[in-house]
Each structure stands twice: as structure tokens, then as C-alpha cells.
Symmetry: C2
Subunit: 478 residues, 2 copies
């Protein structure tokens, strides 16, 4: 038992220090390790298996909407990055530059892609000729690099994995529809698969993507009351098309500029899974995304027949579930703690007494509730339990989120809410960046989004008191 | 019909210029496009879908052997790359160097990974403590960069996609077994899925991987008689472990060095698919890997009921096959040429006369043979046909390969064979690098491998006439 305690004791409690709790979980659940490359992470098997499941499910949803995958070079010549003015201003300060190939200095330096709008534009410029070539609905899964100063596992690192979709359309309307459609794919994926409820809305001009006409976002609320921007979708209008000269001939043989979008979701989302669902025993994974959904732990496994029964059960469940049996020499207590740390949604305990009674015990990770279950009813019960855990996790996350949304009608209420109930603050905004700047400087909160579901909760700006134009979700964010 | 001709005419014939034929196919089948980044390719949807299928199938086979996927940083600090002497000598001349992050010069320059042995070693050094931590059987899917001077689509480019497996074991024997096991996975994958037969064997010291104790390879023969190294598996012994200090305590509490392997297969393999199976009409894809296995082409689609019948058939086949219907406004002839160019294994023609007779026509891409098939028998017939095409393609590739293997007992026979029947030459070798060097200089052929199936076809080295030690497959290679 000494060992079991050690595993659990080594996590800092959320209450005590949320940031340290997060780091502990990430390390102890073996999702990530630090590398010798400053600011770059090693994604270990447990972490990468999560990403693989995210990829598989998201990719399937993309393809249902007609997305095709491609692969662009990882390097961007400096002259190409410079073509769109806002875009280069946004990204140039944080890119890594390749200056030498082998022994030779390059004629033109190349940056390692921080995002690939410029590469896709350069490609579409030649690939799109006629209206028959449109729309182009391309996506790539890759890694990108942004030279961040402060880094945190999954949340901010110099290299991270993501997907970036880049589309080109004949009309402005089609581009707008695709922008919203992909945001909706993200939102549904987060809720249905990750059990992470999100607020959907538009970014203010201050917070939008460098070069975008409009940026839309899904914002999730972490357990500590901070927001996490979890995926974004941008409408570029014809801004990039004009900068890069991407034109097509329409049905009337007239030259037109294309309208473009891009949208991305990254390994950052794993941070959301951790911080929305985790507890003081470690990770809690939604069954729909858990690489292992069920861990069978034999009790008194040295007794005759116990291991056989555990393996038999495991084999039987393999047809319908992602299941493993832990037959290692560790103590059951140690195995329980490990299963909890790794966030495996259900554990099945089976020992000599259970076998005598023809049963086993299902224990759900999220509430620790136990269910004594006849052996022949396990598949049915397990199916029900995993579905229940999944929907309970979403309901719990939604309740937590909703309990941490406060309406503020003036600046005093705003500051009070931030202090007393950290989370999202709904407050009206005049539309001036000066108010966003002031709020950020004085409270560290930023505008997270102007939600699609607009309401008029007061007539005046929560900051300056001038006439209100938009409802905004505000909050401190990762 | 003018348009149809244009599509086909634009491919150079294999006979006339094989290299140009290859480039034409790659472009016309829309697998790849050139980019503004010199030496880097854009993988277009048709090319990337092939890579996705390769990934899916290979990854499944990896995981069956216990492989776990991870992700390592894309950068290697110079000091880390320098740790293993042979390795750095092999790779330093061809790496891309990052020297600046944002506006600042880096304290130590970083290379973009050309391969990740050094990163995995640096990780294992801390992650492996005890025999209980072994084996580590990790793999990653990523892109790597090698600053090549001359590049060709898929075959050699500055950036390419691949998987690299990196394992650590307690014993030398286990490492050797894993090295051979993964080569066997590659060989079976190539034959069973890609219909590409390969010669398995060991590389000579001259040709082995920088830092390896032994390198094993699968070598395929292209249609022009040149060999393509299609996958390699390396046993490092404890060389890297000693350079990086990767030690574990064994069951007797003694410190031991681990034994390591690595193995990789890249997008280069797509070049093999093209050059083993393609013909003067374009690509010919093996059904097992083809993103689209069946293209339904309606004939006289403007006639009533034709399109409905085509769609109905398409819907019915979707359950068992990767099928599409081409209902675009192009002429049937154009669609036929396009389906052939893209290498889609089977096309189904269906027009008013067919519908009258309650049939359609299945046309296989590889032989162009036609099969009139009653509509209700299509699924069964199609299953048989795809399996037949797959096995015929392998048989044909094997027959071509075998017809281009010549035994040579002396240098005259060797040179004659190279000229008269370009392909693999089986010739005995004394074991001296001087002979490899001479052969390469004088004939441009290299030692491809020492096959596992060794024979003594003569007593003397094919080059110098001294006593022979090994049977070697020689050949010109990509």
C-alpha cells in the first residue's frame, strides 16, 4: 500500500495549485515528457493514442462534408510569407528561420510553417483556373512551429500537432457557409465526443486571426474558471486572393477572385479534456475518446482460476469495447490508482469471491460508483455504463460551465464577478477596442467571443457606459 | 474526342523516355504538384489518399506486433546530433539548420530532423530505468528533411513523409529479432497489399545506415529494370546506447546497455507502386490500396433512367467497395481516359442498351478485359474481379522481376547482363568494399543486398575473382 499512496500523493490537489495539478497529471498519466529541445514536448503513447482517436473521429466528420486531405511543404520562403500584410505582421515575430541547407547558406531564408495560408494560396493560384475547379476543400494534418517564450504541455508549445483546413470558393456566401459549417463540426465534436460544452461565437477585430475578415471560435471553460479557445474558423473574404492573385473564370467568362476560409484544431484540445474532466486522482477520460475504455483488474490473482476468468472476460469484451486486463505483479490497489490516474472510464474488479458468486464489480471512474454485475450481463451493463458516463460527464461539465457564467451590467459587477465567480462574464460592449484594452489591462480578462445567440442584457457597455452594440463573453483565458 | 486524346497523348510512352513517363503520370494522375519551395512537393488529394491507405494498413500491422505511436520534436539540437560519430557524419551534410527563433539568434542551432535516432535515444536515456521498462517499441508518423541536391517526386525530395520505428530491448537477440520482424512486416505489406514483390536481405557495410551495426532492406524492381530500396530495418546493437548512456538495471540489479533498432518506410513507396504497375495510359493501382476501387461511368447519361440506374448501382456497391459514379458533363471517352490515368482498378460502364439487357460491363484497368455482368450479380462478380486483379498484378510483377534477374559468374557476364537485361544481377562477392567501389564506378550498379536466401552460384567474386563469400543482388537503383 505504500506504493499506492505514493502514486496518488504525488499529485498536487486542484484546490491547492491548479497549474501544478495540471502539470502533475500530464506527467503522471504519462501523456507527455519534456525534451532537450526547449519548449518542445514529447507526446508519449497514452497522449498520442488520445490524439489518434481525435484525428480519426474528426477526420471522419470532415470527410462527410467533402473535405480532402493533402500535404504541403513545411517551409515557407520569406517572400511568400510577406505577401499578405496583416498575416506577416501577425506571424513573423514568432517563426523559426532556416538559413542553411547542409553546409550552404540559403539564398532566401525559409520559415518553418506557423500556419499554411500562404502555401495554400500559392498553390491555389495555379491550381484554380475555372469555376469548374471550385470549391477546393482541402485539409492537412501536420505539425506547426511558433517560437513561444513561455510554454505549457499541450496548451502552448513551440511545436504542436494540428489540422488546418484551407478552402477556396466561388462566392462570398459559400465561404461564409463553410466557415460556419466547420465551426459547427468542431462544436459538435467537442460536445458529442469529448463531452466538452463550448460557446460558439465570433471574435472581435482585436482577437481575430491575422489576415482574416472574420474569425469564429469555440470557447470551453476549464475547471479553474479560465477559458480555452479550442478551435477557430476564419473567413478571409477575398483578401488573400487579391494578395496572391487567385482568380478563376466564371460561367460568363469573367475573371473573379476566390473567397477563402481556414480552420484549425490542435493538440491543445487535449488540455481541455484534462482541465474540464480531471480530478485529484488524475485524468478522467470520456469513453468515446478513451484509448482504453475498460481495465480489468484481477484481485488475489495468485488464487487458482482468477486470472483465467479475467482473461476470459477480457476476450469476451474485446468484440465491443477497448478493453485490457492488468495481469502484472503489482498490487490491486496500485492498479486501481494507476487506472484512475490514466482516466480509464471503467474498471472491472474480479476476485475469488466474485467468481464464487458468478459476478464481477464495475467501477466507474468519474463518480467511483460500483455496480455488482452477473458475469453474463457484463457486456450489456458495460454498454449502458459507458454511455451513461459519457452523458453524465457532458452534463456535469455543462452544469459547471453554466454555474460559472455571470451577467455583468457595469464595470463594478464585472470586476466583482471575476473575483467571486471566475468563469465567463456576459457583458455588453460598445464595439470600441479601447474598452477591450482597458479591461485586459485592469483585469487580465479578454473578450472571448460575441456569441451567435445574441441578447441585450443591458443598454450600455460594461466598461465605458456608452451605448451597447454586442453581447460579449469575457474571461481570463489560457 | 479531341479532349480525350489530349489527356492521353500528353503522357510520354515508357519506351520512349521512362523518366519523363514517370513525371507525366505523377502530374497527370494528380498525385503531386511542384511548390515554390525548391525540392519540396505538394501531395494532392489523389496522392495523399494513397498515403492514408498505406498508413492505415501498415499501422494496423505494426500495432498487431505491439508497436505504440508517439511524437518527438521535429528539431534536434546540434550537440545532440553530434553524439554518435558515424550518425552525424552520415547526416550532418544534408540537414536544414534553424538559426533564428522570431527576431533572435538561437544560442545553439537546431537541425530539422533528417531521422530521429538521437531524439529517441535522448528520451530513452531517462525513460528506461529497469528491465521492467523494456522493451520500448515506439513509432512515429511524421515528415523529415534532407537537403538533397537533385529531387524527383516521391523518390527523392527535401521533405518527405514516413514512419520511423525506434525500439529498445534488454538483449541483443531480442533486438535482432525485432529488426527482422519489422522487415518481414514491410515485405508482407508490399506483396500482399501493394502487389510489389521484394527481395529481402542485408546491406553491405558500405550501404548500411549511418550508425547501424546491420541494415536490412526490401528491394523492389521497377519497370525500367532499376531497383528501388523500399524500406529498411536497422539493428544498432548497443552503439547508440553507449553514445547516449541508455542503461537499465537487470534482474540481478546490474547496469546493462539496451540494444536498439529502427525501421522506416516512406512516401517513396508510392514511386514503387507507380513504376511497378503503371503503363502508357497512366497509373494502375492494386485494388487493396486504391482510394477508389470502382468508377461507374454512365454512357449516354442524358437518356432517361441511365443516371438513376448508375446511382442506384453505386449506392448498392457502397457497402462493400470504395466506389464512385462519374456523373459529370464530360464525355464517356474522357471519363474512361481519366479513370485509366488515375489507375482505378475497375470501371463499370452502363448505358441504355445495358439497362435494356439488365446488365452492365465491368472493365478491369490492368488488362482492359471486359465482363458483361447481370446487374444483380455485380457485387459478387466485382469481389471476384478485384481479388483477381490484385493477385494477377502481383503475379505479373513477380514474373517481370524474375525475368530481370540474371546470374553472373564473372565481370564480363556482369557487364553484359547489365546491358542486355537491366534488372537484378546475382553475383558472388569477396566481401571487399574495393569491389563494390569498382563496380559502382564502372557500371553505376550498386550492391542492393545480400539476400537471406543465400546460394553459392560460383566460387569467385564476380568482380575480382578472389574467393567468394556472399551472394549479392546488384543493380542500378533509384
Amino acid at each position: 500500500m505504500a506504493k499506492d499512496k505514493k502514486l496518488v500523493e504525488s499529485i498536487t490537489s486542484m484546490q491547492e495549485d491548479f497549474a501544478q495539478w495540471y502539470t502533475d497529471v500530464v506527467k503522471k498519466a504519462e501523456l507527455i515528457d519534456y525534451s532537450s529541445v526547449k519548449g518542445c514536448m514529447i507526446i508519449k503513447p497514452a497522449g498520442y493514442a488520445l490524439w489518434e482517436n481525435i484525428q480519426r473521429e474528426l477526420d471522419r466528420r470532415f470527410k462527410e462534408t467533402g473535405v480532402q486531405n493533402v500535404y504541403m511543404p513545411m517551409f515557407i520562403p520569406e517572400s511568400l510569407l510577406n505577401k499578405e500584410k496583416d498575416h506577416v505582421e501577425g506571424f513573423a515575430p514568432e517563426v523559426a528561420w532556416v538559413t542553411h541547407g547542409g553546409q550552404n547558406a540559403l539564398q532566401e531564408r525559409l520559415c518553418v510553417r506557423p500556419t499554411s495560408e500562404t502555401l495554400f494560396c500559392d498553390f491555389y493560384k495555379n491550381d484554380v483556373q475555372s469555376y469548374r475547379d471550385l470549391p477546393k476543400v482541402y485539409n492537412q494534418w501536420c505539425s506547426v512551429v511558433r517560437w513561444e517564450k513561455e510554454t505549457r504541455p499541450f496548451l502552448r508549445s513551440r511545436e504542436f500537432l494540428w489540422q488546418e483546413g484551407h478552402t477556396a470558393h466561388a462566392t462570398a456566401q459559400e465561404a461564409q457557409e463553410r466557415t460556419e459549417q466547420m465551426l459547427d463540426v468542431y462544436a459538435k465534436f467537442c460536445e458529442e465526443v469529448l463531452a466538452v460544452p463550448v460557446i460558439c461565437g465570433q471574435k472581435t477585430d482585436k482577437e481575430k486571426f491575422a489576415g482574416a475578415k472574420a474569425t469564429y471560435t469555440i470557447e470551453a471553460l476549464m475547471h479553474d474558471g479560465k477559458a480555452l479557445q479550442s478551435g477557430t474558423s476564419h473567413n478571409f473574404g477575398d483578401g488573400f486572393a487579391k494578395a496572391f492573385g487567385i482568380q478563376y473564370t466564371d460561367r460568363d467568362n469573367q475573371l473573379q477572385y476566390v473567397h477563402q476560409t481556414s480552420w484549425g484544431l490542435s493538440t491543445r484540445i487535449i488540455g481541455a479534456i484534462i482541465m474540464v474532466h480531471g480530478d485529484d486522482s488524475g485524468l478522467v477520460l470520456p469513453p468515446a475518446i478513451a484509448p482504453v475504455q475498460v481495465m480489468i483488474v484481477p484481485v488475489q490473482q495468485q488464487k487458482e482460476g482468477v486470472l483465467d476468468k479475467a482473461w476470459e472476460l477480457c476476450d469476451r469484451l474485446k468484440a465491443g469495447f477497448r478493453v485490457k486486463a492488468d495481469d502484472s505483479e503489482k498490487s490491486p490497489g496500485w492498479k486501481f490508482a494507476e487506472q484512475e490516474m490514466r482516466g480509464i472510464p471503467v474498471r472491472i474488479e474480479i476476485g475469488p469471491k466474485d467468481i464464487e458468486k458468478g459476478q464481477c464489480v464495475l467501477v466507474r471512474r468519474d463518480t467511483r460508483e460500483k455496480y455488482e454485475t452477473p458475469l453474463d450481463e457484463v457486456p450489456k451493463k458495460l454498454k449502458w455504463l459507458l454511455e451513461t458516463v459519457q452523458s453524465d460527464m457532458l452534463a456535469r461539465a455543462r452544469a459547471h460551465r453554466d454555474a460559472h457564467i455571470t451577467d455583468a451590467r457595469n464595470y463594478d459587477e464585472f470586476k466583482k464577478a471575476l473575483e467571486e465567480n471566475p468563469g465567463f462574464i456576459r457583458g455588453m460592449w460598445c464595439g470600441e477596442q479601447a474598452c477591450e484594452d482597458k479591461i485586459k489591462e485592469e483585469t487580465a480578462a479578454t473578450s472571448r467571443c460575441m456569441p451567435f445567440a445574441q441578447e441585450q442584457i443591458s443598454d450600455t457597455c460594461v466598461c465605458c457606459g456608452k451605448p451597447a452594440r454586442k453581447l460579449v463573453f469575457w474571461g481570463k483565458a489560457y
